[in-house]
Amino acid sequence: MNWFLRGIRRGILTEKEFPQVQWPSELHRSKEGEVKCPTDALKEDRWDPNRCIFCRACEPILSPTGRSVQAQVKRSEPSFRRSFYLYPIDVGTCGGCNLEFRLIASPQHDMTRFGIFLTNTPRHADALVVMGVMTPKMEEVLRRAYDAMPEPKLVILLGVCAVSGGILGMPPDIRGDVVIPGCPPTPESILRALVEAKSGE
């Protein structure tokens, strides 16, 4: 009861605007110069967020803007507008994506206000959230989880490992409908991508 009352007394903690994060955020070139990027995220002067691990090796030639890294939503599904159930699957993470993904449920972010929920089985899931680099034994698990999901379904690649393999390995062999770069992506960029994927505001 104590917890309940105190919870009420603290008021609403959910935020509309989130504080800026420097790393990871959209990078822009602020100086001329040669950069030795460990993941080839810089090719012909173009910065590719899908390859960037935000290691700061390119600093100060490239510098962070503080703007949340933009996710690519290739396909959204209007039928998930009111409720969007996610099943996360870790195919070989460092734990960072797992934790940032968990934090979209924190009171500051509160995913449920957008009708986003987690489920404990892919059989009830609308979207599969894939995190990490591909590891041999998880390949079959990933395929089983995908097969177990009902149609329509979305695949969300979360974090640079799942998108391009990052610095540690190869990405999982699955086509992503939503691609969220970042190492790890911030809860803000995850939340924005999810809301867009469910055709929300």
């Binding site: 089983r144 097969d147 009902p150």
Partner: protein, 579 residues
């Protein structure tokens, strides 16, 4: 056209047919079983024309009919048909007896043939010994009771008595045979360890124990009412319900768990008998009578069906047995276990409901401290039924539902299963009263009300449930239509290992939670139920030792001598019946 059948001739013909079955067994097992089935049918016919004990006769006849039909289809050993038809004959004589001597003769015949049947199968005599030892204890108590009755009336004929002592003696004699706590080894041990054949198991469990109920009921009708006995019977019965169901829940032996379930059912029947004896209110008495009869019908037939199910299964342990399911077995077993679990719209549902209603009505109408007894019993019965539901769900799952599909077997089980909702409808015929509740859509006479002189208490309508269930399903189906069906593998956390759970595992929660009651030993091979019967066996070791000494002196430990004893006993029976 009114068909007049002379009851006496029908009785003679029925008995002669069963004796023929016994004789035929020396020549052909199948012929013997077929004739036994014919005799059972004749007995049902005879029962329909009987008065007060109609339910006992018809139900016993049905049990025999189903089990001998099953035997005719599946059993080929001549020794088995001999002992089987002998057991049936013994019970038949008991039920038809007109005096104490005939009754005892039938009783003894039944005990001996059943003993031989348990012992000959697999040549393991220990369970048989125990069975026989308790059989003799029961007989001694019966003889004592009957002698007391004889002293009072000066005749062996069933005659109204003024003393309650014969009732006390005989009642305990009968409860020994019913395998009620603490005599449950009688029931459980031979079935589980002797591994009697399915048809004999069903006769032992459904029909032989019913003979005990019949005996108590008969003696009650002769003796004056004694509230003390009523209270004692209610308590012993309710205790048996709770513990029978609990041990059934934790037992992993397929027939063992059914045997424990029989103890539970017999406990419930005993509770019904006790409440009949406890109450002086004629309205309530009529309702108690109703619940007793419905329970007798529900238990005997469902249990017969369930024991026959075990005939389609290879192995004895619920966790390791192998079998295939068929449409008939699936539906049949589900209906039978639904009835055993006390679910509507089966006859078991009516039975459990009416028993609980009886107990709770008595707890408010019986005055003084005695009123607490039915209240306590009601609570125990309620808890027991909960365990029973769990045990039965496990039984259906592991003998049928979770098994691979194959073949078309078990039509007999389906037939008995379908009887469960049909009998729920027939229970209207036994009800002392019928009513309607138009406001709920239950029209005239479709409601079985429970009530006592102080007022009405509750009501139930099997017909309503039976009609409304398919209608609601149909409405749902019509409203939602046939949906797209997608078949996927069960989600086994992505491991591809097809997660499984054993029957033992399903019951282990109770084993762990009640480890002090059940004396669960971690990691032990035996189930806690085994531990329990060993404790009981220690208590009654005296009986067993007595029985060994007794049987050595009496029958010289040799099968041929038992056979000679039985033939002699048989000749005596024939003489007694015909002279």
């Amino acid at each position: 056209m009114y068909l007049q059948i002379d009851k006496f001739y029908l009785e003679i013909v029925t008995l002669l047919t069963m004796i023929t079955a016994l004789a035929l067994s020396l020549w052909s097992a199948r012929a013997s079983h077929v004739v036994a089935a014919i005799s059972s049918s004749l007995f049902i016919l005879y029962g329909l024309y009987s008065g007060e004990f109609r339910v006992f006769y018809v139900v016993s006849g049905l049990v025999w009919l189903f089990s001998s039909t099953f035997s005719a289809l599946h059993d080929r050993e001549r020794w088995y048909s001999l002992t089987f038809s002998g057991t049936l004959l013994g019970i038949m004589i008991t039920l038809l007896s007109q005096n104490y001597l005939e009754f005892l003769t039938g009783w003894e015949l039944m005990t001996l043939f059943a003993y031989a049947s348990i012992g000959v199968y697999r040549r393991e005599w220990r369970p048989g010994y125990t069975f026989l030892a308790f059989g003799e204890v029961s007989t001694v108590l019966l003889i004592a009771g009957f002698i007391l009755a004889y002293q009072e009336t000066g005749t062996f004929l069933f005659h109204t008595l003024t003393d309650t002592l014969p009732l006390w003696f005989t009642t305990f004699g009968f409860t020994v045979k019913m395998g009620i706590f603490p005599f449950l080894v009688v029931e459980w041990l031979p079935i589980a360890h002797g591994n009697a054949k399915p048809s004999l198991s069903s006769v032992l469990s459904a029909s032989m124990t019913l003979a005990g109920v019949y005996g108590i009921y008969k003696m009650m009708s002769l003796c004056p009412q004694t509230q003390a006995l009523g209270g004692v019977l209610i308590l012993i019965g309710a205790f048996s319900v709770l513990f029978g169901a609990l041990y059934s829940y934790v037992s992993d032996h397929m027939k063992g768990m059914l045997a424990f379930s029989t103890i539970e059912n017999n406990g419930a029947i005993l509770t019904a008998l006790g409440s009949l004896e406890l109450s002086a209110d004629p309205v309530l008495k009529a309702f108690a009578q109703f619940s007793l009869m419905v329970y007798v019908v529900a238990h005997s037939l469902a249990k017969t069906g369930l024991f026959l199910v075990t005939g389609y299964v290879h192995g004895e342990s619920m966790s390791t047995l192998s079998t295939e399911r068929s449409f008939s077995l699936e539906i049949g077993t589900t209906l039978l276990t639904a009835s055993m679990s006390g679910l509507l719209p089966t006859v078991g549902g009516v039975a459990v409901w009416s028993l609980l209603e009886t107990l709770f009505m008595e707890s408010i109408s019986v005055r003084g401290i005695l009123g607490l007894i039915p209240l306590l019993a009601g609570v125990m019965v309620g808890m027991g039924e909960g365990f029973a539901t769990g045990a039965m769900a496990r039984f259906t799952s592991f003998t049928s539902l979770v098994r691979p599909r194959g073949g078309e077997r078990g039509r007999l089980v389906l037939l008995i299963g379908v009887l469960m909702p049909v009998l729920a409808l027939l229970s209207y015929l036994l009800s002392p009263e019928m009513a309607g509740a138009a406001s709920l859509g239950m029209f005239s006479n479709s409601l079985i009300p429970s009530g006592y002189s102080g007022g009405s208490f509750g009501g139930i309508s099997p017909l309503y449930v039976l009609i409304i269930l398919p209608i609601l399903s149909l409405i749902t189906y019509l409203a939602s239509g046939r949906r797209r069906v997608r078949t996927v593998d069960p989600w086994d956390n992505g491991s591809g290992r097809r997660l499984t759970y054993t029957s033992f595992g399903m019951a282990n929660n109770i084993r762990l939670m009640l480890r002090f009651v059940l004396r669960t030993r971690k990691g032990a091979v035996e189930t806690s139920a085994d531990v329990f019967w060993r404790a009981i066996l220690q208590l009654v070791r005296g009986y067993v030792r007595f029985s060994r000494a007794f049987s050595r002196a009496y029958m010289n430990s040799s099968i041929s001598w038992y056979m000679i004893y039985m033939i002699l006993a048989f000749i005596v029976v024939i003489l007694v019946v015909f002279l």
